[in-house]
Each structure stands twice: as structure tokens, then as C-alpha cells.
Symmetry: C2
Subunit: 124 residues, 2 copies
DNA sequence: AATATTTTACGAAGATTTTCGTAGAAAGGC
DNA sequence: GCCTTTCTACGAAAATCTTCGTAAAATATT
């Protein structure tokens, strides 16, 4: 499956957050942060359906769209792309960069430590 | 500064690895992994110079190019973009995804743990 | 000096992504 | 039923990114 474009990702985010939605609903959500015409959103969602990123069913006169790809698998895909294109495939250097420049809370850092321990367990 | 495109990033990688280089050298490096015409690389590097991503000086008849942006700041830029577009700004979830799907060595994991401890120290 | 090679500059084609106008179909209100 | 609103389909313009052909300038070779 091909990587979603930036605009496509925006739409996926809305659908992951809100669940299946009409074009109108998605467009209104997007319009909160920037101007975007209704038919622009419509066209993108039609294209995404052709590509297989979205599925739709008809309800009355409108279509209701839902994602066919999961959030985590998409995140994985984008992350893996970045890992190889910008970090020479070194996950640890990516992770350290990510942590270095983000003000993560103590709680989040503990969460990560916990995760590291589990990984270790599996390794042993 | 605008995010480099995929092709631009490839070129930056060569220059970060090898240091300042001619178009020919960059093109040869790129050609190791995929076919790409000499003038294609030339054109891209000219555009990157216009954009301010590269600088060049003349030596004899050829130009010698060098990056004006650092690898780490570019990584940071791309990471931050991904963080917000795909991970709702949650660095910990990005990090956990990154670790979960990469087979990092014990040593790398320890490196990360070490980094977490330093972050904690600074937090206190 | 004539010829060949290398490099640059330019422009434009091709591909992809993003945007929206227009027309027509579908539904609802009067 | 007729008018208004909402939605879809289509096509194409605009923007960005990628690719390369061609020609001219600079240099090297013989």
C-alpha cells in the first residue's frame, strides 16, 4: 500500500478520531484549522477510495466513509520511511532525537522505560 | 526553512556522508542504488542552491557543493513534522512505535536507557 | 588549432498532488 | 409539483516535484 500524502493523512486523522464520517463532517473538521473547499475534500476522499485507503457505503443520498488502514500501521509505515531516508535505519538515533527535542513528562519517560524493559525480557 | 523533498534528502545524505562534492560525485553515489541521469542530479542541486539548502564554490571548471543545513537539524525538522502530522504530537507514542518495530540491539536499548536517565536528571 | 570530453544553464515534459468550478442527480420544504 | 439545498461526478487548472534533452561554455587531449 502506498504512503498517504499529507492531505490524505489529514483526512485519515479525522476519520480515526471521529470514526466513519460524511464528506461534510470531515470538511468541517478540517476547516477548523485552515480553509479548504468542500469539493476539494470530496475529491480527495474519492481518490482515497479509489486507492483503497477509504471505503464508503451509501446512506440516503450521502456516502459515509471509513478508513481501511489502521492508524498504527500507517504510523509504522511513515516512521519506517523516515527511519531509512533520514536516520540511516538507526532506530536508536531516531528515538534519541525524538526525546531530546520534546518536552515529555516524567510519566511518559517512565512509560518508555517500562517498554524498554519488556523488550529486554523478550530478547533474553 | 522548507522541508527538503525526498530527492533533495537523498542528495543531502551524500553530502553529509562524504563532505562537499561535485555533481558528478553525488550522481555516481546515487547511481549505486538507482538509475538517475547526470543532468537530473545537476538540476536538483541547482534548485537546492537557489532554495538555500546548498552552497557552492567554483573550483576550476566545476562547482563544489556543500550542505548549508546540518543533518541533525534536518532530522529534527522531519521528525517534528511527522510527530504532529501522524502522532498527535505525542513523542512517547512515536518512540514506542519506533522501538516496537525495529530490532534494536541490547546495546542500543541501553544507550536509550542511558539517555532517559540523563533527561530525568535535567528534569529534576 | 582542431577535436573530444566535461560541466553548466535552460527549458520543458511528465508525474503527482492539491485545488476548485460546473453540472447534474437526489432529497427535502413549501 | 416546483424551488432550494445538499451531494456527487467530472474535468481541468494550479502547484510542486522529478526527469532529462539540448546547447553552449570551459577545459582537456591529441
Amino acid at each position: 500500500m502506498k504512503k498517504p500524502t499529507d492531505s490524505e493523512l489529514e483526512i485519515l486523522q479525522v476519520l480515526w478520531d471521529d470514526g466513519e464520517s460524511t464528506v461534510r463532517a470531515v470538511n468541517e473538521k478540517l476547516s477548523e484549522s485552515r480553509h479548504v473547499g468542500y469539493t476539494t475534500t470530496l475529491k480527495l476522499m474519492q481518490i482515497m477510495t479509489e486507492k483503497g485507503l477509504l471505503a464508503r457505503r451509501k446512506e440516503g443520498k450521502t456516502h459515509i466513509y471509513s478508513p481501511t488502514v489502521s492508524k498504527s500501521s500507517t504510523q509504522q509505515q511513515l516512521l519506517s520511511k523516515l527511519l531509512h531516508s533520514a536516520f540511516d535505519g538507526s532506530a536508536s538515533s531516531l528515538v534519541i532525537q525524538a526525546l531530546g527535542n520534546s518536552k515529555s513528562s516524567k510519566k511518559e519517560l517512565d512509560e518508555i522505560r517500562e517498554f524498554l524493559n519488556e523488550l529486554d525480557k523478550k530478547k533474553r
